[in-house]
């Protein structure tokens, strides 16, 4: 072994704790980096990736079977601009209930008869659970339907002759959202009746599909060989994409910020640990130089001592990061119906090289200083801090009415001010990270809560419809007064509102806007206002920020809507938080369109506290059935899956950041305790018991913990309070106040102790060592 190798090996042997700390800090850094990178990858254009993987349908079209034959539809595959197609698939709309009649009511669903699509040309629907439906009585449910169903559940269709039952054999995701459920092609017969004949679905890939005009052109090409009556409706992939990306668009900046924070924190700490370890070895560097080591050899000797444990840690960390990432990405994969490999070798290599570079750079910077010191000066640097430092603090702490081990510990940081500043920085960064992480998670939850409108627990929709409608719910034809009477008479009703949707143009502005109109008390739907108030009657409207921006309007202004050729003026009385349709929505009272005879498409019912949704739905169902309506649970938790992913990732990163901060403190306290080992021996010789030694060591980090926390928590809050509105601005949204008002007193108290907790946790190991070391050994140590 070379002389240099011998020095490196003996150095690691002598400083085992520091070697372990460097190894662990590197391990966590690499793990956090892989995880944070995966977080960014997972949040980057998941729709596009899964759309490409599934070869999603650019255009989904529904046809009436009475107006088009299968062969006519098959022929549309060769229409101009069509590059691929699937279908025709027979399709029906039917309303199931879980077998036994219990459980929340379910809305009508579009069921498509389709053979296993895993090798399809277009829309390769991906199974997330179970298998594809191949025989009679088997059904596959879409995971995007808002219904939390599991394989094995039996669904009955009571409105159909013979009340046929289907067993859920699989859960699947179609990125193109082509159906709510699929059955084997032959099973469609069971679900269709003479008065509700099946229709057809065709799925198309288009040569040009990047704009609404392209899609319209594709639709026109398809329809060139068919009668216009044949087309019941179409669905553009652009709309599906927009809907899907509403979920992630707002969260991506949060993820990027948190991921980057994790990386910065991890890199800072590993740098701090390495430089601290090398900096503490100045005396030994003097010895090496005295026996003939050149400055260059000294630098490499100490880089080597950091590099060996760091390499080990980075290797394990990359593997651990990938292992931790896989389950998270599987969740993402399930959510978007895409396939993401957890192991990105290219990214892993970048992580390894970058982390090693940080270790080498910080080690070099610290060792270079030692290497350049004159030998005599390096030798003169003893273990203990220079005499005289911290005396004032020692004097002041001695008069405090505290047990002596506490006051001795409190004074220690002042003897090594630079190291104490580094400890404060570590705790500060740790506290800031935790504060920001918790803040971002809370804000994300609030954003998710605020953007989830229409939260009333019960929905009422039409029981049957004329044919499949790919876009939008069926219109309710029943007399609204009768619906209201039935709902109002039902015990457990707290409030209700009806809602419908239409398209409108705004005079003076290009483009089409969604108009949501309401009857009853829509405020129970959980719409969150960012400014102004909810509309109070006809002629008033509220809109999201993007629409205000697009129209150049302000609260108090009036805009003129062109709805089906009728011009209607509305006064804007409030700004509502909504991300749907990029915020191009108008919310108003049904009375605004009195001349147009609009009716609600659905009703929503809020329940009095303690009312069970299933019981309520079961009880209300008989009163609504004669009106052609069915009540069911209004599931709005479909998007919580992404929150689960984000929360689990941020929780993992937060824990890692705390661990890295704790390791930084551990390293500093190990150095401090080693330097003061002789003092410790003296204390023990004078009667300091192990418990008092522990108290003294822990007390030595209290100042850093409190000051670091006092700096870190407000810093984290300030970053959060600056970052979150900026993210909203980026997304063109004014975030509701509740998204920023997350700093509740109890949370602040908890966070205030966070810095202290990190510091104390980091000091426990060396404190235990200080307690255990034998007095004679400590006194002998030079």
């Amino acid at each position: 072994m070379s002389t240099l190798g011998g020095v490196v090996r003996s150095g690691i042997g002598r400083r085992r704790v520091q070697a372990v700390v460097i190894m662990l800090a590197s391990l966590i850094t690499a793990t956090a980096t892989v995880l944070a990178g995966s977080l960014l990858i997972a949040s980057s254009a998941p729709f596009d990736r899964s759309f490409t993987e599934q070869n999603g349908a650019h255009l989904t079209a529904q046809f009436a079977s009475a107006a088009a034959t299968e062969s006519q539809l098959s022929a549309t595959a060769s229409a101009s601009g069509v590059t691929g197609s699937e279908g025709p698939f027979r399709t029906v709309t039917a309303t199931p209930v879980p077998q036994g009649g219990r459980g929340p009511g379910m809305p009508a669903m579009t069921v498509v008869g389709r053979a296993d699509p895993s090798n399809a040309t277009v829309d390769r629907v991906k199974l997330t659970e179970g298998r594809w439906a191949t025989g009679p009585g088997e059904i596959v449910i879409s995971a995007d339907g808002g219904l939390r169903l599991r394989a094995g559940l039996v669904l009955t269709f009571p409105d159909l002759p013979g009340s046929p039952s289907f067993t859920v054999v699989g859960i699947a995701r179609s990125v193109s959202r082509t159906a709510d459920a699929w059955v084997a092609p032959a099973s469609i017969d069971t679900l269709s009746t003479a008065d509700r004949p099946s229709g057809y679905q065709m799925l198309y890939r288009l040569a040009a599909a990047s704009s609404a005009a392209d899609i319209d052109a594709g639709r026109d090409a398809v329809m060139s060989s068919l009668s216009q009556e044949a087309l019941l409706g179409t669905q553009s992939w652009l709309n599906t994409k927009a809907t899907s990306e509403q979920t992630t668009a707002l969260f991506v900046p949060f993820l990027v910020a948190f991921g980057l924070l994790g990386l910065i924190m991890a890199v800072l700490t590993v740098g701090n640990v390495v430089s601290g370890a090398v900096g503490a070895a100045t005396h030994r560097i003097g010895v090496l130089k005295a026996i003939g080591f050149t400055p260059k050899q000294v630098v490499w000797a100490y880089i080597g001592q950091a590099l060996i444990p760091a390499s080990l840690g980075i290797g394990i960390g990359v593997v651990a990061g990938n292992l931790l990432t896989v389950p998270v990405l599987v969740e993402t994969e399930d959510l978007y119906g895409t396939t993401i490999s957890g192991v990105n070798v290219g990214y892993d290599i970048v992580v390894v090289v970058a982390t090693l570079a940080v270790v080498i750079l910080t080690g070099w910077a610290a060792a270079w200083r030692g290497g350049r010191l004159r030998t005599v000066d390096a030798l003169a640097v003893g273990r203990a801090p220079a005499a005289g430092r911290g005396r004032l603090a020692a004097r002041l702490s001695a008069v405090l009415p505290l047990p002596r081990p506490v006051s001795l510990g409190l004074a220690q940081p002042f003897a090594r001010p630079i190291r104490t500043v580094a400890m404060v920085a570590i705790v500060g960064f740790g506290s800031a990270s935790v504060t920001l992480g918790i803040g971002l998670a809370s804000s994300m939850a609030e954003v998710q809560e605020a953007r989830t409108h229409d939260k009333a627990p019960v929905a009422i929709s039409a029981l049957r419809q004329e044919g499949p409608r790919p876009e939008g719910p069926p219109e309710i034809t029943a007399d609204p007064a009768a619906v209201v009477a039935a709902v109002s008479a039902q015990p457990g009703t707290k409030g209700y509102y009806g809602l419908g949707e239409t398209k409108a143009a705004i005079v003076g502005t290009s483009g089409s806007f969604d108009v949501m109109y309401f009857t009853g008390d829509a405020t129970i739907g959980g719409f969150v206002m960012t400014e102004g108030r909810w509309f109070s009657g006809a002629g008033e409207a509220v809109v999201p920020t993007p629409l205000l921006t697009a129209t150049g309007s302000r609260i108090g202004d009036s805009i003129t809507l062109d709805v089906k050729g009728s011009l209607v003026s509305v006064r804007l009385v409030g700004e509502v938080f909504s991300t749907e349709n990029q915020g191009m929505q108008i919310f108003t009272d049904l009375g605004t369109f009195a001349a147009l005879s609009f009716k609600p498409f659905q009703y929503r019912v809020a329940l009095t506290p303690g009312t069970d949704v299933t019981t309520y739905v079961d009880a209300l169902s008989p009163s609504l059935k004669p009106l052609g309506l069915t009540p069911h649970a209004n599931n709005q938790d479909e998007e919580s899956e992404i929150l689960i992913i984000i929360n689990s990732l941020t929780a993992m990163l937060t824990v890692m950041l705390i661990a890295v901060a704790g390791l930084g403190i551990l390293n500093a306290v190990v150095l401090q305790t080693r330097e003061r080992i002789r003092e410790l021996g003296i204390h023990k010789a004078l009667g300091m018991v192990p418990r008092q030694a522990v108290t003294m060591v822990i007390s030595s980090v209290v100042v850093a913990g409190i000051v670091g926390g006092a700096i870190g928590v407000p810093a984290g809050m300030a970053i959060h309070d600056t970052m979150v509105p900026a993210m909203g601005d980026n997304a063109g949204l004014t975030l509701p106040r509740v998204v920023l008002d997350i700093w509740h007193p109890e949370l602040l108290v908890l966070l205030a102790f966070g810095g202290l907790a990190i510091a104390v946790a980091g000091s426990l190991l060396p404190a235990g060592w200080a307690a255990r070391i034998r007095t004679a050994t400590a006194l002998r140590t030079e």
Binding site: A387, R391, R395, I682, K684, L686, R774
Partner: protein, 233 residues
């Protein structure tokens, strides 16, 4: 009254020859004994065992009526607080603390009331002639003065036994003479004293009994010699 009782004490470190082997020793209250011997003879090991800083691999160690070889770290630390005062060759004063704070430390670790501890420290500093240095830091004092501070600290909790490990080893001759007189005075006042030293003149000046160690065994004990001589007469 017996203050120190060692019975068949041995202490080994690893595979090598024992640092102490089958040592038995009894010290009475008010006695001042000097332990002499060349380097590696086991003097410091014996002192560490009596102070409860180390534990024997065989035999029993009883100090002031307490079996200290069975005590854990906490137990022996508590015992040292009240039962033993120690003086070291290189003083082992804490440079960051003033003279007064150094002297107060054993009482503070024992949880003694502040006012009482301060009175005792002031009295000791006065008695030992270093009261004027109470607010000074040890680094500013001469070697003799520092050792006086160490003596004051050792006596703070009125220990039954004072252990001194080469107390003049790091001092010039004038300061060494100063410390020698101090130890003599303490012995004269009835303080039980165990002195480990290379210095024959210090041993003969301060101790009433001399024990010589060679290779971990007691080679001679002046008390035993005197008894034997008396028996012969």
């Amino acid at each position: 009254m017996t203050v120190i009782e060692l019975q068949n004490v041995s202490r080994s470190y690893g595979e090598g020859p024992p640092a102490l082997e089958d040592v038995s020793l009894s010290v009475q209250r008010g006695e001042a004994i000097a332990i002499l011997g060349p380097s590696g003879s086991g003097k410091s090991t014996l002192l560490n065992l009596i102070a409860g800083l180390d534990r024997p691999t065989a035999g029993t160690v009883t100090v002031a009526g307490t079996r200290i070889d069975t005590l854990g770290e906490a137990g022996s630390a508590r015992f040292r607080r009240s039962g033993i005062g120690m003086i070291f060759q290189f003083f082992n004063l804490l440079d960051d603390l003033t003279v007064e704070a150094n002297v107060l430390l054993p009482a503070q670790l024992a949880g003694a009331p502040r006012a009482e501890a301060s009175r005792r420290a002031a009295q000791l500093l006065d008695t030992l002639g270093i009261a004027r240095h109470a607010k000074a830091y040890p680094g500013r004092l001469s070697g003799g003065e520092r050792q006086r501070v160490a003596v004051a600290r050792a006596l703070m909790n009125r220990p039954a036994l004072l252990l001194a490990d080469e107390p003049t080893g790091a001092l010039d001759s004038a300061s060494g003479e100063e410390v020698r007189r101090l130890l003599n005075d303490l012995h004269a006042d009835g303080q039980t004293l165990v002195l480990v030293t290379h210095d024959e003149s210090l041993a003969s000046a301060c101790a009433s009994r001399m024990i010589r160690l060679i290779d971990g065994r007691i080679a001679s004990d002046s008390a035993a010699t005197a008894i034997e001589a008396g028996a012969v007469r």
